[in-house]
Symmetry: C2
Subunit: 247 residues, 2 copies
């Protein structure tokens, strides 16, 4: 890409990255939604993704700390409110823990992240590091995977409820909320990126930021697939189905 | 200090730092409250302190990004809400701009920070850097100057209103709000510090953090005093009374 894209063409290029690299294309997700995972494989997914969820407010506060404009901060801080909630038992992170509760993980064990796959930790930490170190524009652009979230969430809700008798609608409350929150967040971030990526170099940087973020999500599923599906080799220290979870 | 202090003794040691090092002891503050500053000297203070105010939400978001506990983040994020407000024209930063408005500074000029004393910038940046780099406990402890804020704010409100006919109660709205916000914030931070500074080394670190923060405030007044009072030598580039403020 060596010429400046129109805002509409930039949006199309961003969407194209999603069509080629978003983690709905990963075999683990197809298996998750298609009912081909065992309960323990679903548990491994929920356990590992907890860490991603837990670091989202940290990631968003890191971005907030880089914003000099109070009006921009007011909009961005809503993401932190959504995830942390307004009191005990509220917020996206709490809703994720209701899912791990329903899958019989002790909360202490989940929150300790003791059983996490190292690759989950590395990928999520790379995301937080990215939004700390790169430009604010790249940090905002890296959130644009939310443009593709509603489709995957709808598939996930329908697929998991239809296919797993151990998953209840209550356990998937996190995704219900995200169906309305993600498009609002994505719309704002997409407008910001289209407005501020005003040179070829800046447009390249936002496209690369979205590709980077797709990698972060993809790598987590690679880790789950390798450890718990094929060949099914959890690394030393990671959670193993059936292990004693003394908290 | 080589023995562990009780929580009450630690609080007393923290208060002692305030009694010896808080910026209410600075001659610039005595002159500000006592009505001995010219309007231009008050303007220099308001212009420079804007940058401190503007970076407070950045500082608090930096601390927020270091907190792993949603309950702790929920409490801390209120500081950001207080400063940024809930919409245009609201919040502590906006109230500070009403003060600089009333002192006839164009907003663009204030927000640009073009006329800032370099020492103001260095001191405030050192504060943000401190909360990014040191332990979370030290970051929280560095906010404890708010324990001493209500006294100085009461003096300031009464002194400035009595002594300066160019200062209205509306222009000091920022401080009205802080009279209730600062004690709430300080109470929480003090409890946190008393609860978490459980070793001699940790207690020394929180005492040093508060002394550091007192230095940050003091250095800003040193800069103002040198530039605008005695000897009255604003460095090149800094705001000078009477200069043209094309925005």
């Amino acid at each position: 890409m060596t010429t400046l894209l129109s805002p509409a063409a930039l949006e199309a290029a961003l969407r194209d990255i999603g069509h080629r690299r978003y983690h709905n294309l990963h075999p683990f997700h197809a298996a998750l939604h298609g009912g081909r995972l065992s309960r323990d494989q679903v548990r491994a997914w929920a356990l590992n993704r907890y860490f991603y969820q837990a670091m989202i407010p940290v990631k968003d506060a890191t971005i907030l700390a880089r914003m000099q404009d109070p009006a921009l901060r007011r909009i961005w801080r809503q993401r932190i409110v959504d995830h942390d909630g307004t009191g005990d038992g509220d917020g996206g992170l709490e809703r994720w823990l209701k899912l791990t509760d329903s899958l019989d993980f002790p909360r202490d064990y989940v929150v300790s992240t003791r059983g996490l796959l190292p690759v989950t930790r590395y990928a999520v930490q790379a995301y937080v590091e990215f939004v700390r170190e790169r430009s604010l524009l790249e940090a905002i652009a890296s959130s644009l995977t939310e443009m593709f979230a509603p489709t995957i969430i709808s598939e996930r809700l329908a697929g998991m409820l239809a296919n797993y008798d151990f998953i209840s609608p209550q356990a998937l409350g996190y995704f219900d909320k995200r169906l309305s929150q993600a498009p609002r967040d994505a719309d704002f971030a997409l407008d910001y990126v289209k407005q501020h990526a005003t040179s070829v170099a800046l447009q390249q940087s936002v496209l690369a930021a979205l590709a980077f973020k797709c990698d972060v999500l993809w790598a987590q599923l690679d880790g789950l697939h390798h450890a718990y599906v094929t060949p099914g080799l959890p690394p030393p220290g990671a959670w193993i189905p059936g292990m004693e979870l003394a908290s």
